[in-house]
Symmetry: C2
Subunit: 338 residues, 2 copies
Amino acid sequence: MAANSKHGKPLTIEQVAAAAGVSTMTVSRVLRGTDNVAPETREKVKACMDELGYVHNKIAGALAASRGTQIAVIVPTLDSIVFTELLAGIAAGLENTVYQQVIGISEYDKNRELDMVRTMMGWRPAAFILASARHLPKTVQVLQSSLCPIVEVMELVRNPIDICVGLDQRKAGRVMAKHLLDKGYKRFAYLGSDHSIDHAASLRFKGFQNEIKKHAVDFIHKLTVTDQSGISLGRNYMPQLLEQCRDVDVVYFSNDAVAAGAMMHCLAAGIEIPNDIALASFSGLEIASAMPIPITTVRSPRFEMGKLSAERVLARLLGENVTRVTDTGFELIEGASA
Amino acid sequence: MAANSKHGKPLTIEQVAAAAGVSTMTVSRVLRGTDNVAPETREKVKACMDELGYVHNKIAGALAASRGTQIAVIVPTLDSIVFTELLAGIAAGLENTVYQQVIGISEYDKNRELDMVRTMMGWRPAAFILASARHLPKTVQVLQSSLCPIVEVMELVRNPIDICVGLDQRKAGRVMAKHLLDKGYKRFAYLGSDHSIDHAASLRFKGFQNEIKKHAVDFIHKLTVTDQSGISLGRNYMPQLLEQCRDVDVVYFSNDAVAAGAMMHCLAAGIEIPNDIALASFSGLEIASAMPIPITTVRSPRFEMGKLSAERVLARLLGENVTRVTDTGFELIEGASA
DNA sequence: TTGAAAGCGCTAACAT
DNA sequence: ATGTTAGCGCTTTCAA
């Protein structure tokens, strides 16, 4: 029977030590699985911990060892599968280590990001992983002062604060533009969330635009809105886009959720894809391939990026030398929408 | 200029105190915004903290105060918007308090949930919020020994461990069944993820089934699969369902993502909704209303449940008396799919 | 309004 | 293989 803390206060190592007839240090060793403890002693201590229902106090542990086991992760939102898959990747990379991720949401707001960094820093995390590459100068300064590994993930940058794992967003735009040009499309439009919100999307836009400009064409229309990015954005603004420019061949979207929403409108309105209009996008989400007409898109390896970020962090924490910038690449997925 | 820790180790309160010419206690008071500190002293200390780039060490703080400011939240997955909206609600409820949520993912696995609870308990959280109502007995025991507020959210239960905020899942099923019966549907089928995985979905199924049985009908077919719940599940298994029973009027789904996937198949296959077949579901997700034919569904108030959970926790932490069980209700949303 | 002393529960570093 | 000692950086409690 567990005789755990009905006494008001949680148990301490000392009580376990007393019960097992050993010193607190021995219990501490068993707890951390370190050093050499005699197998029988270990078993005895473990039995006592079980019976008493003792739970290791990591607050005291982290203070004494002056290092934590939390990895602070900041993502812009959890509303996009892109970031939840990233988190799943990080979790996978951290599996079977002493480290755990602690998630913060910045809501695409740089000031909030700074607040989050400060708050999390209070818990003295072992490392930071940020799913963005644009920060306030102050944020960078605070991060650097922590002297711990810092990963910027998703977007490839030349001069990361510390470590970068990402893909070349401009190139993703270029590649899609090239693909569409090769297919003979000439009259392009763009629909997406506001570029000041989603920096990666704006880089893709620029990459795309640069490519088509090489062929002496430009977007004949660009509609960006400050609504929350997602299916509804595409569903709600596609009619407006089509009204504003009837002579479009193909629409490029900021991401698959928006493209899916736009396709919903087309299906509802009897607009034929890709005959009346073609659609192309970025992300490689489940929904893109599940649509009645699979969406032509570019898949970003979110899970892999998350896993790699975690691995970089672990390597660094072990004192290993680590590749500072990793281009994870991406994959063009040809659907039937273009 | 910030002269922060280039010295290797992070700054301590002591160094701030020295710089400001006060005791560490005074700095501590400023840090926590408690007690009475002379306004001028406060300003002076704050200025020093800013200049030095000091970040409050919450590990030491939590240890000394023997109480943490983290709220442990465990959700089954982040792959469903249902849970990310719940988290957003919790975050909203915690806004402008000293508390922050720490998120854990159980992956619908009760053993993992126990592990998570134990791990999180190590950080001595101020409270637990669990987005499920079924736990291992050991999990319940460990939770109870923590003596802190425990909220079970999403599913309404009679005898919660401590506090419950949720909706009556059976009733949600019943209400939809009634709605469909009223519309004259008679031949029902079901498609969803395996009931051993998603307990709430199985309750809705049972509620639905009980209601139709009152009218002397039962599901003519039920297809449950262990694939990960989502759009793909509906998209991939709808053909199989239709093949196995061609004479169905209406299909009830475990949730909107599955229903949306199924509708994708129908659209692709030229099956007319709701004439050839009607679809009905549960969740009230963005995608349900964005489909070319909006899906008839039942909306669960995820955000509100999250917010309320946080509020209950805060009230309890303030020593207030708290309603133990709250039925948040739900809303039938009539689309065009049934 | 401010300060001094005594821990919070654990672990590093050094014995033995 | 196990124990002893001295903190980790903060807050509590009590005093001034």
